[in-house]
């Protein structure tokens, strides 16, 4: 699925698939693979946290509820903590590309301020995360001006994607036709098999690394590839069966229902439990809003690029005091209009990847799946 035809993204899409090769990597060799990457990159890998009991969802499915976090490979003492994450990690991938708070002063991006001198590599990136990265690319690399801090990190980064062998209760990527496995947008892709991994090598950068690891890689057999295809298909089936229960409207109707739901009561109703914590916007992997703030530090004046969120009261307030989004329900509605109207108009796709992070983080139990379902029903199934 290629979303972009415009130039800014071309560098990201150049050599994908053209020379994709798939290898088999034994379980015990994954650390060798990671160590090799860590030589050249600052590698982040998923670790499992808090293995809670499996969760019985409201529709009776027994689903996993463990979480995964990204941690710097070099700083993990017990390498056995490194996990193959079965679904997306807790933190949004964008955190590693657009820091929540970053000094953007100076005539030109200062590599010393960029954190680690080695370029970034991230393992455990799921297809929902890759979808979100495209939204971030659209914002920070698109338009007339490019964010040089984002660009420096993004262009040099190595993305190690991975199939999802399971999904969480909150996952709903397939509602928007996003598959729980990736076929493009990565350098490497890992698919867990019973006795190891299939490793897709997609880019020149990745081929360079794979060439130096020939001793632990063997070309994937037809049987292994068929096995992966089967696993992928089975997971999609299971996920779809779960999503049917949630009745989430499809991608094609999103713009329509959000626009025509402008005066729906769902906004006010759902915002009753909102405590304006901003969790949903900061955990969101497609949200991108920020504020340029000026502060004085010991070294002198500083410009900071700080994440901002449209659920906050002062997001649209102007100096005179006027605020177009003064009520909380207006801000919730604004968020949906931005994601499902504005982005579909300007980028051609919704700014939501179905990762469900906002559902899990919300202390008010505000559920995007429910709101979309309500909007759909109000538009298409109302009595009149």
């Amino acid at each position: 699925m290629i979303f972009f035809t415009n130039p800014p993204y071309s560098f990201l899409l150049t050599d994908y698939n053209s020379s994709m090769e798939t290898y088999f990597l034994k379980h015990q060799d994954i650390l060798t693979f990671y160590s090799r990457i860590d030589e050249e990159f600052q590698l982040y890998v998923p670790i499992k946290v808090e293995a809670k009991p499996r969760l019985l969802c409201e529709h009776g499915l027994l689903l996993p509820s463990e979480d995964y976090l990204l941690a710097p490979f070099s700083r993990i003492q017990e390498k056995s903590d490194i996990a193959y994450n079965e679904y997306r990690c807790v933190e949004p991938t964008r955190t590693l590309f657009v820091y929540p708070k970053e000094n953007v002063s100076g005539d030109t991006p200062d590599p010393k301020k960029q954190g680690p001198s080695k370029p970034l590599a991230i393992s455990g990136v799921k297809n929902c995360d890759l979808f979100s990265l495209k939204v971030q690319d659209f914002v920070f690399l698109g338009g007339d001006e490019v964010d040089p801090f984002y660009q420096a990190r993004r262009e040099s980064a190595l993305i190690i994607a991975g199939d999802c062998p399971a999904f969480k209760e909150a996952c709903f990527c397939r509602a928007f036709a996003i598959d729980p496995y990736s076929q493009e947008g990565f350098d490497f892709n890992l698919s867990a098999l019973n006795d190891g991994y299939l490793l897709d090598v997609a880019t020149e950068k990745a081929h360079g690394i794979a060439d130096s690891l020939k001793n632990i890689l063997s070309l994937a057999t037809r049987g292994q590839l068929a096995g992966r295809a089967q696993k992928r298909e089975a997971l999609v089936k299971k996920l779809d069966a779960h999503l049917v229960l949630h009745k989430i409207p499809g991608k094609g109707s999103l713009k329509d229902i959000v626009v025509s739901g402008y005066n729906s009561t769902v906004w006010q109703e759902q915002m009753r439990t909102c405590v304006e914590c901003g969790g949903c916007v900061f955990i969101c992997d497609t949200c991108h809003c920020f504020l340029l703030a000026d502060t004085l530090s010991k070294e002198g004046p500083q410009r900071l690029r700080i994440w901002d969120g449209c659920l906050y009261k002062n997001f649209t307030r102007v100096a005179g005091g006027a605020n177009p989004l003064k009520m909380r329900y207006m801000r919730l509605r604004n968020r949906y209009l931005k994601k499902f109207d504005f982005f579909i108009d300007t980028m051609g796709t919704q700014a939501c990847c179905g990762c469900g992070r906002c559902i899990e983080v919300c202390p008010g139990k505000i559920d995007i799946r429910y709101i979309l379902k309500r909007l759909y029903e109000e538009k298409h199934l109302s009595a009149h």
């Binding site: 005539d107 001006e145 964010d147 040089p148 660009q151 000026d294 901002d308 997001f315």
Partner: protein
């Protein structure tokens, strides 16, 4: 070397003029090359303090200096109002799309300003005056709350004397010294010396003023395409990235700040 799009260039305050009790015009000399088109805005920065968007009020034809007319309403502007000639600020830009002068050519141009909203229009007027032969007529209608709240008091009579230029002013609340019209700016939008078929209207002022002026103009028969509105939002980056100034499918910072009513008419709550 990649350009840091967030980094402003330094500018020295050369002159500060008091326009009203709460409005000052700052003349700035940027330390490096800077130019703008009329109607485009800049981000004016006080290093270490803050940044806010303003539309220059000066003639874009003057290349080494620009003026910004600013009302003291918030943190950044109150700090700015406390600054003097010789002090250094910084600026970024210019951003957005300005007034489409090319499509104004040969037209009767009605310019309606409210309060400090005359600032960007002053820049527009200078641009129009600079090539007055290209335009048929310029009609300025300006309203302020009281006569003390009027900006450019010295310039208004000068402009009125110009060939092809017709100026009328009004105040919402009269006073013994004020000899002109009393009433909202819509009260001086009657019997306009413009030919509708070749007229465009440019409006800038507080949202509530723009809302009613827009209604009045539609009433008078101006087409949606011929009404140009300056939208006010809290632009932070100016580059269409930070998300603050979204208005429907637009970002005011890059698709505006000047829009035709045609572009905005189907959007919700544009005057809020």
């Amino acid at each position: 070397m990649k350009k840091n799009i967030y980094q402003p260039i330094e500018a020295v305050i050369e002159d500060v003029r008091q326009e009203t009790a709460s409005i000052k015009t700052f003349a700035l000399r940027p330390k490096s090359l800077f130019s703008f088109c009329t109607g485009q805005f800049i981000e004016l920065n006080i290093p270490g303090v803050g940044e806010a968007p303003f539309t220059p009020s000066s003639d874009p034809g003057v290349k080494d200096r620009l003026e910004v007319t600013i009302m003291n309403v918030g943190n950044m502007t109150s700090r700015l109002h406390a600054m003097h000639s010789g002090e250094t600020v910084a600026l970024r830009g210019p951003y957005g799309k300005g007034y489409p002068l090319e499509s104004f050519k040969g037209k009767d141009i009605l310019i309606v300003g409210g309060g400090v909203g005359l600032a960007p229009l002053r820049s527009l007027l200078f641009s129009l005056f600079g090539e007055i032969d290209h335009y048929n007529k310029i009609v300025l209608r300006y309203g302020a709350r009281t006569s003390a709240d009027m900006v450019y008091k010295d310039l208004l009579p000068e402009w009125a004397k110009k060939k092809k230029v017709d100026v009328m002013t009004t105040v919402d609340i009269g006073d013994p010294q004020w000899k002109g019209n009393v009433g909202l700016v819509t009260t001086i939008l009657k019997d306009l010396p413009v030919e509708l078929h070749r007229a465009v209207a440019v409006v800038c002022g507080p949202p509530i003023m723009m809302k009613f002026v827009n209604l009045k103009l539609l009433d008078l028969g101006f087409t949606h395409e011929n009404i140009y509105l300056s939208m006010e939002k809290n632009m932070s980056c100016g580059l269409g990235k930070c998300g603050h100034c979204r208005l429907g499918r637009y970002y005011v910072c890059k698709d505006g700040p000047v829009f035709t009513y045609e572009q905005l008419k189907d959007l919700h709550d544009i005057w809020d």
